[in-house]
C-alpha cells in the first residue's frame, strides 16, 4: 500500500509543486488548506483558497480546509504582541512553523491517517546515525532552514520537503509545464497576517502607542517618537532627524531602545560603534538532534534571515542560554530575533537573541 501524505496548501506555487511532485512519486496525496487568520478588513485567504482549489482540481487531488486561527491567535499572535510591547522585534514565522504547521497541522494530519506532512519549504531532511538532520535548501537564495530551526525529531520524522533539492526557477518551470494556475503567482512577502497592510498601522491597531523622546547616545534631545514599537535596531528611515543635526552630515540610526525611560537612542553614521557588537546572549535554545560542544569552532550563525553564515563560537551557561562570540562585528543585533546555528549545510538549532554586548 502506498504511503499517505497530506500537503499543506497555501495557494502559492511552492506548495502546488510539492503536491504535484508527491503525486508523481506515487504517494496517496491529500491536500489541506489552513486558514490561520481572521480579519474583517484584510483577508487574502479567499483568493489563496481559490488558487489552492484550482490547483487541486487540476491535479485531481482532494482538498480539505481547516481553520487554525484560534490556535494561531493563542500560540503565535499573543506572543508576537507581547514581544513588541516589551520593545523587542519578534519573528512570528518561526513560531508559526513550530506551533501551527509542525504541531497543530502535523497532529491533525496524523489523525487523518497520514504518514507524512508535506510543505513547500526550501530545506532538506536527512536521516543518518539514527537521527534526523535538517539541511539548508539546495537553492541557497531561497533556503528557509532559518525559519525551521525549532523543529525536533518527531517533526522531521513525519515531514517531507520535496523542494529541498530544487531551485525556484525549476519549481516555477515545473508548475508551468504542469499547467498549475499558480505558476507565476508572486511570492508572499512579509508576515502572513499583515500582508499588504502598512506594518505600523497594523501595530497601532493592536498596541496602544506610547510616545516618548528621541535622544542621541550622548543624551541630547533631538525629537519625539510615537512609540518604541515602531522602531527596530539599525533602522535609518523614519527617525525624523536629518543628517544636518550634529557635526557630520551622516544619517542617523536607531542604536538602542530604553524601555524604562521610553527613549529611543540614536547615533550618527552607520559606522558608529554602538551599532556593532561581537558578542550576544541567546536564550530559549533548541537543538534539532544534539547540543553542540562548548567552544566548538566549526559553528556559524545567522542573526537574521538571508544573512551570510558568520563564524562564531559558543559558550554555554547553566540556564538554557549561550554566549555567542563572533569573529566579525555584527551590525544591528536585534533582541527578539532568532539566531540560528549551522555547521556547514546543516542547521543545528538556535535561540532568541536576548541581549548584546557592544564593541
Amino acid at each position: 500500500m502506498s504511503k499517505k501524505v497530506i500537503v499543506g496548501m497555501s495557494g502559492g506555487v511552492d506548495s502546488s509543486v510539492a503536491a504535484f511532485l508527491l503525486k508523481k512519486k506515487g504517494f496517496e496525496v491529500e491536500c489541506l488548506f489552513m486558514k490561520n487568520w481572521e480579519d474583517d478588513e484584510y483577508c487574502p485567504a479567499e483568493e489563496d483558497y481559490n488558487d489552492a482549489l484550482q490547483v487541486c482540481n487540476s491535479l485531481n487531488l482532494p482538498l480539505h480546509s481547516v481553520n487554525f486561527s484560534r490556535e494561531y491567535q493563542a500560540r503565535v499572535f499573543a506572543d508576537f504582541l507581547d514581544e513588541y510591547r516589551s520593545g523587542r522585534t519578534p519573528n512570528p514565522d518561526v513560531f508559526c512553523n513550530k506551533e501551527i504547521k509542525f504541531k497543530v497541522f502535523l497532529d491533525y494530519a496524523l489523525e487523518l491517517g497520514a504518514n507524512f506532512i508535506v510543505t513547500g519549504h526550501y530545506a532538506r531532511i536527512k536521516h543518518y546515525g539514527d537521527r534526523f538532520h535538517l539541511l539548508k535548501g539546495k537553492d541557497i537564495k531561497k533556503d528557509q532552514s532559518y525559519f525551521l530551526y525549532l523543529l525536533g525529531q518527531k517533526e522531521l520524522e513525519h515531514s517531507l520537503f520535496p523542494l529541498g533539492e530544487m531551485n525556484k526557477t525549476e519549481v516555477r518551470r515545473l508548475a508551468k509545464n504542469a499547467h498549475l494556475k499558480t505558476y507565476k503567482k508572486k511570492d508572499s512577502t512579509g508576515i502572513c497576517f499583515i500582508g499588504e497592510q502598512n506594518f505600523n498601522q497594523f501595530l497601532k491597531k493592536n498596541i496602544k502607542p506610547k510616545p516618548g523622546d528621541i535622544i542621541t547616545i550622548n543624551g541630547e534631545l533631538t525629537g519625539s517618537h510615537d512609540g518604541l514599537m515602531y522602531y527596530t535596531i539599525g533602522q535609518r528611515k523614519g527617525i525624523g532627524v536629518g543628517g544636518g543635526f550634529g557635526k557630520k552630515e551622516a544619517p542617523w540610526y536607531v542604536a538602542e531602545k530604553d524601555l524604562v525611560k521610553n527613549q529611543l537612542i540614536i547615533v550618527q553614521g552607520n559606522d558608529h560603534p554602538a551599532l556593532y557588537s561581537k558578542t550576544l546572549k541567546a536564550v530559549d535554545l533548541h537543538w534539532i538532534h544534539s547540543i553542540p560542544k562548548n567552544g566548538s569552532n566549526s559553528i556559524t550563525a545567522k542573526i537574521r534571515y538571508r544573512q551570510n553564515d558568520q563564524n562564531c563560537s559558543l559558550v554555554f551557561d547553566k540556564q538554557n542560554s549561550v554566549h555567542v562570540q563572533f569573529e566579525k562585528d555584527q551590525f544591528a543585533v536585534t533582541p527578539g530575533q532568532s539566531i540560528v546555528f549551522y555547521e556547514g549545510d546543516e542547521c543545528l538549532g538556535g535561540g532568541i537573541i536576548e541581549s548584546r554586548v557592544c564593541s
Binding site: D40, C43, E46, E47, N50, L53, Q54, N57, P62, L63, H64, S65
Partner: protein, 374 residues
C-alpha cells in the same frame, strides 16, 4: 416575431442556456462549503472569473460578481460615503442607477455636478476638468449611452481623473459584444457590466475593480466576493455570464460589421420612404447596431403599439419599469424638444437579426407612416 430591442435586453445564447441547465441540475453545493459539493460550485465560479478576466484583459482578482449592472453601479456610488471627498462628477445621460443614487445621496451630504452633453449626446472632457474641486472623490461617466448609442470620450476623461488622483467609474453595461473592453489600456478604475445585455442570464453582473482601489460592500453578510458582495453566489448565473462574455468577444469584428451593414441598409431604404427622418447620436462615435430615429408626424407610442401588434419589438429609449413610454431624459439632455422626444424610436439590432428582418421592419414602418398621413 421580430426583436429589435437588444439594448434593453438580449435573448439567452443557446450554449449559455445549456450550461445554466447543466449547472442548475448538478451544482447545488454552497461555494463557501469546504466539502466536495461546495468545491465543485466554487470551481464553476472561479472558471467564470477567469473567462471574464481574460475578456476584459485584467486579473481575476479585479473581478467582483454582483446581482447585475444596477447593483454594480450602486456599489460604486454608495462607496462615496466612505470617502473623505464627497463630491461626484457625472453626466446628464447616465442610467437611473447612477443618477437616482446620487439624488438619494444628497441626503447624506454628498454633492454632485451633472455635466451636460452636446447635441450629439457627448460629454466634453473639458467640462469634466472644470467641474473638479478639491472635494471631488469620484467621476462616473458611462462608456456608451444606452438610448442613442453615443460613445463617450472615456480615454480623455480617464486621463483627467488620473492626473487629479480621482477615482473614475464607467457604466460599461452597453459595451460587451459591441466593442472590446481592454482594462489594461483604459484608465478606468471601476466598470459595471450586466450579463443579460450580452446574451447571458438576468440578475447577474460584474464590477471590475482595478487593483489598489478599496471598496466596502453594499450588501453585508457572509463576506463572499472578497467581502464586497455578501450572499450565496448565483452559481449558474455567474457561470452563464462567463461563457456569455467569452462568446460575445468571439467574432466581435464579424458581428459589428454585421450591425453596421444592417444600419446602412436601414438608413438607405428609409431615405426613400421617409426623407425627413432624423437620426440622433454622434455621427462617428456610435455603438454599432443602435439607431435612434425621430419620425415626422408619428409618436413613438403609436409606432410601438402598431408594431407590437404585428409581433415586432422596438422601443422609445430605455426600458421603463412601468412599461409605459416616458419622455427620455437623455434626449432632453441633448436639448431636443418634447415633441421631438415623443417621436423618437430606438431600434437596436442583435446578432440574430438578418437583412430580411430589417426589410420587414421597414415595410411595416412605411405602412404605419402611410396610414398616418392618410
Amino acid at each position: 416575431m421580430l426583436y429589435f430591442d437588444h439594448s434593453a435586453t438580449t435573448p439567452i445564447h443557446p450554449d449559455v442556456l445549456k450550461l445554466l441547465r447543466e449547472i442548475e441540475s448538478s451544482r447545488f453545493g454552497n461555494p463557501s462549503s469546504s466539502h466536495h459539493f461546495g468545491q465543485q460550485s466554487r470551481l464553476c465560479i472561479e472558471h467564470s472569473r477567469k473567462q471574464v478576466a481574460k475578456t476584459l484583459r485584467c486579473s481575476t482578482n479585479e473581478i467582483i460578481f454582483t446581482g447585475g449592472g444596477t447593483e454594480a453601479n450602486n456599489l460604486v456610488l454608495w462607496n462615496i460615503m466612505y470617502q473623505k471627498n464627497k463630491h461626484v462628477i457625472t453626466s446628464s445621460i447616465e442610467h437611473p442607477s447612477v443618477l437616482n443614487v446620487l439624488k438619494r445621496l444628497t441626503k447624506f451630504g454628498v454633492s454632485s455636478t451633472i455635466i451636460p452633453v452636446d447635441g450629439n449626446c457627448r460629454v466634453d472632457p473639458d467640462d469634466v476638468k472644470r467641474a473638479i474641486t478639491s472635494e471631488t472623490g469620484l467621476i462616473s461617466i458611462m462608456f456608451a449611452n444606452n438610448e442613442v448609442g453615443t460613445i463617450q470620450p472615456i480615454s480623455e476623461i480617464g486621463k483627467i481623473a488620473e492626473e487629479n488622483g480621482i477615482q473614475f467609474h464607467s457604466d460599461t453595461v452597453q459595451v460587451p459584444g459591441k466593442l472590446s473592453v481592454d482594462a489594461s489600456k483604459l484608465k478606468i478604475d471601476l466598470m459595471s457590466f450586466s450579463a443579460h445585455k450580452f446574451y447571458g442570464p438576468k440578475g447577474v453582473g460584474v464590477l471590475y475593480v482595478k487593483k489598489g482601489i478599496k471598496l466596502n460592500s453594499l450588501i453585508v453578510g457572509g463576506g463572499q466576493e472578497k467581502n464586497l458582495r455578501a450572499g450565496t453566489e448565483n452559481i449558474s448565473g455567474i457561470a452563464g455570464m462567463g461563457l456569455a462574455m467569452e462568446l460575445a468577444e468571439n467574432n466581435l469584428k464579424e458581428r459589428t460589421s454585421h450591425f453596421i451593414e444592417l444600419t446602412k441598409l436601414f438608413k438607405q431604404k428609409m431615405k426613400k420612404i421617409c426623407p425627413r427622418l432624423l437620426y440622433n447620436g454622434h455621427p462617428d462615435f456610435l455603438l454599432p447596431g443602435v439607431i435612434s430615429a425621430t419620425f415626422p408626424g408619428v409618436t413613438n407610442n403609436f409606432f410601438i403599439i402598431k408594431l407590437d401588434l404585428q409581433g415586432i419589438a422596438v422601443s422609445s429609449g430605455s426600458a421603463c419599469s412601468s412599461g409605459t413610454v416616458a419622455p427620455s431624459h437623455v434626449l432632453k439632455a441633448m436639448k431636443l424638444s418634447n415633441d421631438h422626444n415623443a417621436r423618437t424610436l430606438r431600434i437596436s439590432f442583435g446578432q440574430d437579426n438578418t437583412e430580411e428582418d430589417v426589410c420587414m421592419l421597414i415595410e411595416k414602418l412605411s405602412e404605419i407612416l402611410k396610414q398616418h398621413s392618410m
